[in-house]
């Protein structure tokens, strides 16, 4: 039950919602479409569902071109952001709906409908709510009923639009785990839209990061975090310090600071503009006064298991310091590291950078930022 999206493009007037999208999803995968609002992720989901038609490109389900096929031929289950439960029907009737509206010849017998609905309600652990009406349920219960309803028609693909968007934080956490388990049980090819990177990381086996109607990167949660392909991915997933500077003579210069470039980037010459992306946990604080990069600690924020340190660079010899976004360097320390360092605000310390993400176009040798 694979999904292939080929060169899909959709415009609303001047606004490009989908810009030449290419995407393949394998049978049984659980994939997240992640991106800020307006990035086109919902439009992509709805296009796959057949609720929207693209201007060009095609959508293949199991290798068959379904681009202009009506919804009922696609065998897609769709879970709406606000559930879209039928408020005038009981929970039971909501779940039974997809079976009841089938043409008479394909409609299961009443007893079979009953059996299937109760089976699904048991699956979502809400069998005891069958006689209630949607307005009487909590948000989390509604979401699970919406899922049961979508599953009732035995879809080959399950598409979920911001499935946890409207829920409280703790209900959301519980439902995420539950969705992952449910997927392990059913193995329906599933695609869900979210703007919450934590949610995508926690639930999905693969993440599709989108921005401005384009796919920025597709990869496992680890790949997306550890090896972001674009500046956008780097800053959208997790925290990052962005240093603005230029590349000269095999090194990155920002103000009078410099960082040596990795081997494969040595031949790049980009004296105009190049940003360096550094994760807060890739910076180490050292008390050694010989370290050339000096900062003053401005604020220490305990985060439970770790500590976030905000520091301002100190310019050497009255020279200009590094150009940093927000003029602050954020450093993340483990609890042990923090305790071992015994630092305080206004301390002057050195920093050591362990890892930098560089983004440049390999073909042209120009910066991609």
């Amino acid at each position: 039950m694979s999904i292939h999206v080929n060169h899909l493009t959709k415009r609303y007037g001047n606004f490009t919602a989908l810009d030449d999208i290419e995407l393949s999803i394998d049978d049984g995968e659980l994939v997240a479409l992640l991106g800020p609002s307006g990035c086109g992720k919902t439009t992509l989901l709805r296009s796959i569902a057949g609720m929207e038609f693209a201007d060009s490109g095609s959508i293949l389900l199991e290798g068959r071109d379904m681009t202009y096929e009506p919804i009922r031929h696609r065998q897609v289950g769709f879970v709406f952001q606000h559930y879209a439960l039928f408020n005038h029907m009981s929970v039971f009737e909501n779940v039974a709906y997809g079976l009841r509206v089938r043409p008479r010849a394909q409609r299961p017998a009443e007893a079979e409908i009953r059996r299937r609905v109760h089976e699904l309600l048991e699956l979502v652990q809400l069998d005891w709510l069958a006689k209630r009406f949607p307005p009487q349920l909590s948000g989390g219960q509604r979401q699970r009923i919406a899922l049961a309803r979508a599953l009732a028609v035995e879809p080959r693909y399950l598409l979920l639009d911001e499935p946890f968007g409207a829920l409280d934080a703790n209900v959301r956490k519980e439902l995420r785990r539950w969705l992952r388990r449910l997927h392990e049980e059913l193995h329906v090819t599933s695609l869900f839209v979210t703007h919450d990177q934590e949610e995508a990381m926690e639930v999905a086996s693969r993440i599709v990061v989108m921005n401005h109607g384009r796919i920025e990167q597709v990869g496992t949660p680890e790949e997306i975090y550890d090896e972001p392909h674009t500046p956008f991915v780097s800053s959208f997933i997790g925290n990052v310090n962005i240093l603005r500077g230029a590349i000269r003579e095999g090194a990155f210069h920002t103000g009078n600071w410099q960082i040596p470039l990795p081997k494969e980037a040595r031949e790049i010459h980009h004296p105009e503009e190049q940003d360096a992306f550094i994760r807060p946990h890739d910076i180490e604080i050292v008390k050694d006064t010989a370290v050339p990069w000096r900062v003053r600690i401005q604020h220490i924020q305990p985060m439970g298991s770790s500590y976030h340190v905000e520091a301002v660079p100190i310019a050497l010899n009255g020279d200009n310091g590094p150009h940093i976004e927000n003029d602050l360097i954020t450093i993340e320390l483990t609890r042990q590291a923090y305790k071992a360092l015994a630092i305080d605000t206004n301390d002057e310390v050195g920093i050591d950078i362990h890892h930098v993400h560089w983004f440049y176009d390999h073909a042209t040798g120009t910066a991609a930022s």
Binding site: Y12, M51, E52, F53
Partner: protein
């Protein structure tokens, strides 16, 4: 995002029915009004409209519709205020009664108001004692139009009053404002667009109202003859061009007035930050 809804069925059918019906019942008839007027020469149109009796009818229609809509602002506001805010026995009953003018056929309203306000009627006799004649004068027309227009103001103001944020009032009171200051500075401004809407609806309805007015108006040319009646009179004299021109003129004038009021409404809405 604007074309999200395209997956739903029935667009062609529903649009077809709608456009067909609107064309047949609204568009073509109003086009007929315009083209039939265009058959007349400009001089003919001018002669029809510049007639003293026609001008007088317009004056009567506008002044009575305006007066009634204006008075309805205050009466409607009081009624809406009390119905929304104050405890009142049988509130549901009073509230549903507000729509009576919408539900009562205008001819019935016309004959009953005439009877009530005629010099020997239940209410007319009091006015007669004061030397005021109500029935068969512009005052009577105004009374009929107040009856017709009352629900417009009440029904447009009520929902806004219900939605008003109590906290704003409490904030105003806590900052030392008197009850009246709070009303004038905090409660009234957001009501103004609704009041204007109610006013314009009542006014538009008043300009065109026929059934409830003709009985009480007395229909004396130059004094208490309204524009719709004048149109009917012309029709009964088989003066179709005359009727058409007057109808078109009253439509145009009404639309211009509504445009002005809509503009005003838009402006106040912007200023008070609502809508």
């Amino acid at each position: 995002m604007s074309q999200r809804k395209s997956m739903l069925p029935g667009f062609g059918l529903s649009l077809g029915i709608t456009v067909f019906t609107v064309s047949l019942l609204v568009l073509i008839p109003l086009l007929a009004l315009v083209t039939r007027s265009a058959e007349l020469s400009l001089g003919g149109i001018w002669d029809t409209l510049a007639d003293r009796r026609v001008l007088a009818a317009f004056r009567v229609s506008f002044s009575t519709a305006f007066a009634a809509a204006f008075l309805n602002i205050f009466m409607g506001l009081v009624v809406a205020w009390v119905l929304v805010r104050y405890p009142l026995p049988f509130k549901r009953f009073w509230d549903s009664l507000i729509d009576l003018p919408f539900a009562l056929p205008t001819a019935v309203a016309g004959i009953v108001l005439t009877t009530l306000y005629s010099p020997n009627g239940w209410l007319g006799q009091f006015f007669a004692d004061l030397g005021i004649r109500v029935a068969f004068t512009p005052l009577g027309i105004t009374i009929a139009l107040i009856f017709i227009g009352l629900p417009f103001v009440v029904r447009t103001v009520e929902p806004i009053l219900q939605d008003l944020d109590r906290q704003q009032e409490e904030a105003s009171t806590s900052l030392g404002a008197s009850r009246w200051q709070t009303f004038r500075r905090v409660l009234l401004p957001p009501l103004i667009p609704a009041i204007l809407t109610g006013f314009s609806l009542a006014f538009a309805r008043g300009l065109g109202e026929y059934g409830s007015v003709i009985f009480i108006a007395g229909n004396m040319p130059m004094k208490s003859e309204i524009v719709p009646l004048l149109i009917v009179t012309k029709l009964e004299q088989y003066n179709y061009p005359g009727a058409t021109v007057i109808a078109l003129a009253s439509l145009v004038v009404a639309f211009v007035m509504l445009l002005v009021i809509n503009g005003l409404q838009h402006w106040t809405r912007k200023r008070t930050g609502r809508g």
